[in-house]
Symmetry: C2
Subunit: 151 residues, 2 copies
DNA sequence: TCTTGATCTAAAGTTAGCTTTAGATCTTAA
DNA sequence: TTAAGATCTAAAGCTAACTTTAGATCAAGA
């Protein structure tokens, strides 16, 4: 286990472009690992910067912090994540990215074919929000584009 | 202006798969138009169903309700939206969809090239959250993937 | 007409994801 | 050694997007 350079909370905050309070919050939420100095201050392995970056990206993708915690469990807490660790996480994440791309392309063509040209068939027009962990932020299933236009 | 069939709030709720309270909320937020019966109950043009659908989709894309209100201002309140109305909205919306697709593809290749293989250059590795109205939900700019991995 | 179910309002409650505040303690460079 | 700045904790505050509650009224069929 290579001894990793440890940095303070302000360093992490600055490097990731966030408020110190956010880093503290993530640490309290067990999203990032930290150890304490004798005085009680938090110090972090530098690799936490990438971890925070990942969190921000995943949030942007629509993941809730609870889900992200799950995703991150693929990374080790007590040593610097290595190439294989990140690759493993990346693999899982990529599947979701692909899904997202598929979804959004479907949305695009649906809008083109449904809203754009005023389709008349309920069957053709109906899209379902399929309880996607990512997409449905705790909303439950809701039907999309479910009506026959009254043109 | 063709007299449009009017429906109750429960009908809208059922057709869109949502709680009545949500429809009422949207109506109070001026996201969907409604008129009142003599008794004070809300009634809606059927076209509100599509409007609600649009709101759900846009939310899924990451838009805040405030932004969606703006987008929806392209649609008329006092008559059934026609093909041209929806097409206009669809056009604006499609631009954002394209952006989203571009973004997510960038993310995908960045993850592949950056996390996946452990790149060593700060320049190559750095992604910025470019204050995108959609992506940044009031977060301000935050740097993503901004560190040199400590492999 | 009566009763049942739908709808109403206003206000309070909820969850996620943070920030702010206050007052105390750490750390560090001079 | 000391002053300044960084960090600490716990608790409260905040915004968005809803839901829940309570008590009243509306609408419609038997």
């Amino acid at each position: 286990m290579a001894p990793e350079p440890l940095v303070g909370i302000g360093f992490i905050a600055k490097r990731t472009g966030n408020a110190v309070s956010l880093i503290r919050y993530y640490a309290n939420q067990n999203l990032i690992p930290s150890i304490r100095t004798d005085g009680g201050n938090r110090v972090f392995p530098r690799s936490v910067i990438r971890r925070v970056s990942f969190i921000l990206i995943a949030q942007n993708m629509g993941y809730a912090l609870d889900d992200i915690r799950q995703l991150l469990s693929a990374l080790p807490d007590n040593r610097t994540p290595n190439k294989a660790d990140w690759a493993r996480l990346s693999k899982v994440f990529n599947i979701h990215i692909e899904q997202k791309i598929t979804e959004i392309n479907l949305l695009k063509s649906s809008l083109a074919g449904c809203i754009g040209c005023g389709c008349l068939s309920l069957q053709r027009c109906r899209l379902y929000n399929k309880e996607d962990k990512i997409a449905s932020k705790g909303n439950g299933a809701r039907y999309l584009l479910g009506d026959i236009p009254t043109l």
